[in-house]
Symmetry: C2
């Protein structure tokens, strides 16, 4: 069974063309701010990528419309890797980020909505570059391929398979009969959310540019800022609360918004995963507030609450904005934040991590284990919302969690070979795999990933992409069966 | 359904009586070394415990011989908690360890074969106390109840259930038709191993006392030493290699030795868990040797190999002896050692941790997950040694691992509330739950657990017992269904 090479080639070319088009707004931003050199750099990135990809998109017709699951995985993996390569071009050509590994890391961190940076000072960057950096968040938030599906309904063959390989991102199958309509509907919600946040931030005194940058970072749960101090720069409770609310919204399963559009508030509130997600927020908020107060880190309970809610939500939703240097907080707070890094937001949201639904099933499995000890021969199913979960699905979830932990350990080991301390190694791995961004120790919220060697940066970039595509899409590339299924 | 209170009471009293008897050899050691005060302290511990327990053992007859699974769990949990209390008496009465939390911690650490200590200087302790401390390892290694079953064949009622609640420890059911015979057979192997190591250590120049202390610590995978520098004190490659070999033997499933007794070497070598266990040793040995050499920690490849094999085996088998301060090693070594803490030795051995068999199943589940991605609707069973594992058993193992990780996180959080650094919190929790002993940071191999507050010490003691009894026996005590199954 061979790959459908022509189709794979054509879809990948289409993604490249799309990204060339997506650089145009960034070029316009450069021109508006009078950054001629930067605008030329964008042109230098747009022209060759468009020139190379356009002929394939226009003239390469797939011999067969058949697309197998392996083709889907390869398309998605290639799109994200080649997409990150294209995204790095403006950084390289403009000279904003001269090294290849650095530029690829920053671009992959953007598209995967991680928000980890190798830059020590973002405030000296041209506006156009800052815009592009944050715009990659927005593009990656919904999934690059869903973007393509929304724009090119002709891509109907096997798109469903592709969307499945590009988990997370909302599951399109349940929304409308036509896949491209579903993708459009998603972008409708996503764009609405974006506009709403931009307006609310501008009401708080931000100019349009800052509002856009921080909205892209929020609704995509990315975390890139145009200021070195991140959101702490604004020192505004209002701005922080707007961002907190939109981070929570962005970490919610987007399919639930269709329930709201159909005025089904009850269905929304009954969602088990969403309830788990909110419970984790409330629990962590209370615990961190208590610990900050107990160790007298802050000036009072009000300040504790303000820092606590922001940091809880920014880490759980895997956004990564900072209003405080939590790498200096009491260890107990770090333990909670590290656990939140693994949990992540809801499935079908723009967030990363393992996702709340899996965390919920993990607890159900623990509960089941305790029951089984008292009643060894009883049949004890894992229930979710009153329904039994198929044992096959439970196994898949357990398998996902173990794979996640294995990649986390592998990442920790690779980073530790740089000679960092253990906290840095652990948190860098967790923060990249979970698409959070800042970690603890030497990769804390006021620091960056710039000091790592090029191979480590490339490895962490792949870890970000693996985390974003829910592991298997990238892992499969390293298995023999994927390339030789018949052997 | 009520508990069989009389039976529970009688068996617990029997354990107390047994421990009173087990203190006699320690008292004799005190007398031999002319430690009159210590000998009197032992007498002060023996007399009241024997006096209180003897009447119940002699005259309390259970109304019903029926024992349910809940009774079994309660008997085991009580035996270990009350056993640790009794074991603490000599420390308290002799004044060697004056505080209650400290004495309980040291005793629980002994019985659970953890080997974590609150003592800063063990070399000033009386010989009798040092002997008792290490003898608790030897008693706990095989399981306190298996000891009772071997000594009192009359305990036949439901002993099987008790043995199941007291996992690990070899599964008795497969060895001989009669349970007490199986228990005796196990003690035959265990004692033989003990004698062999004592003789080999004496050949290396150790006196009988030192040989006994370090043999108890080795065959029970405990780790208490009579020297502050642990095994590094001897500075002898021969002694280290003897201990390495016996640690590997103690971390092996004892049931496999019966295959050897029946001259079935092939069956021994074919055991999947043992092969995983050995593969982990070889892999970690090679990796740590490489890293130590790469970071130039040691004087040469020979020294790297010597430190590497000892530390790999001492941590994987959850013994905890030290020949080097690995808390100062490169971070990459610490990452590997931390992972080994979680894996542990074989099931049915005296070691702790999650056990190699579960680690193997974890990998099989990951492999299954990858296959399922390519063939979503295929039935992909988890295979072990050519046979399919029942999905129920796979779920139980996944549930165990998740419970283990949850307790680890909980332990880390509790320790971190002491204000320690993150590495200390993580490693203290992992080292107590996995019954290893030394961790990293402030609880590294040349340091101790003395600086923690009393509540944290008691919590860590319970964590050690929970880890030793494979979690659920202790966890069940905190569930409502355990106490009120009919509600």
């Amino acid at each position: 069974m061979a790959f459908n090479n022509r189709l794979i080639f054509r879809v990948t070319a289409m993604i490249v063309l799309l990204l060339a088009g997506a650089m145009v707004p960034a070029m316009i931003v450069s021109l508006l701010y009078g950054e001629r050199d930067t605008a030329l750099a964008f042109l230098g990135a747009i022209l060759p990528t468009a020139a190379v990809s356009l002929p394939f998109v226009a003239y390469l017709k797939p011999a067969s419309p058949t697309i197998h699951i392996r083709d889907g995985f390869l398309i998605v993996a290639l799109s994200w890797i080649i997409g990150s390569l294209c995204g790095a071009l403006p950084f390289l050509i403009s000279g904003a980020i001269p090294g290849f590994a650095d530029a690829f890391f920053e671009s992959a961190s953007g598209f995967t909505t991680t928000g980890a940076s190798i830059l020590t000072n973002v405030e000296i960057l041209p506006r156009g570059i800052l815009f592009w950096r944050s715009f990659t968040h927005w593009l990656g938030g919904m999934g690059i391929l869903i973007f393509a599906i929304a724009l090119f309904p002709s891509l109907k063959l096997g798109s469903f398979l592709i969307a499945k390989a590009e988990a997370p991102g909302p599951s399109l199958d349940k929304l409308t009969p036509k896949l491209s309509d579903s993708a459009k509907l998603l972008y409708f919600v996503y764009t609405g959310m974006t506009i709403a946040q931009v307006l609310l931030l501008m009401l708080g005194g931000l100019d349009l540019f800052d509002a856009l940058i921080h909205t892209f970072g929020t609704v995509a749960t990315g975390g890139f800022s145009s200021y070195n101090a991140s959101v702490a720069h604004f020192d505004s409770l209002y701005v922080e609360m707007v961002i907190v609310v939109f981070m929570i919204l962005a970490g919610t399963n987007f399919n639930l918004y269709f329930l709201l559009l159909r005025r089904n508030l009850k269905g929304f509130l009954a969602d088990r995963e969403w309830r788990t997600y909110m419970a984790v927020i409330v629990f962590s908020f209370v615990a961190i507030t208590f610990i900050l107060n107990y160790f007298e880190v802050t000036a009072g309970i009000g300040e504790s609450m303000r820092y606590s809610i922001f940091q809880t939500v920014t880490i759980l939703t895997t956004t990564g904005y900072a209003t405080a240097d939590f790498a200096l907080w009491p260890t107990a707070c770090m333990v909670i934040l590290l656990v939140l890094m693994f949990i992540g937001g809801c499935s079908g949201s723009t967030s990363g991590g393992m996702k709340s639904i899996r965390f919920l099933v993990l607890f159900k499995l623990i509960k089941r284990g305790i029951k089984k000890r008292l009643h060894p021969s009883a049949v004890v199913p894992v229930k979710l919302g009153g329904k039994n979960l198929a044992s096959d699905r439970v196994s898949n979830i357990a398998s996902f969690i173990f794979t996640y932990l294995l990649l986390f350990v592998l990442g920790t080991l690779v980073v530790s070979l740089e000679g960092t301390d253990l906290v840095t190694a652990i948190s860098a791995s967790a923060a990249c795999l979970g698409n959070i961004g800042p970690g603890l120790g030497e990769v804390g919220p006021v620091l960056n990933y710039g000091f790592f060697s090029a191979p480590t940066k490339l490895f962490l970039s792949m870890l970000m992409i693996a985390g974003r595509l829910e592991l298997f899409t990238i892992l499969l590339l390293f298995t023999r069966t994927f390339w030789n299924p018949d052997r």
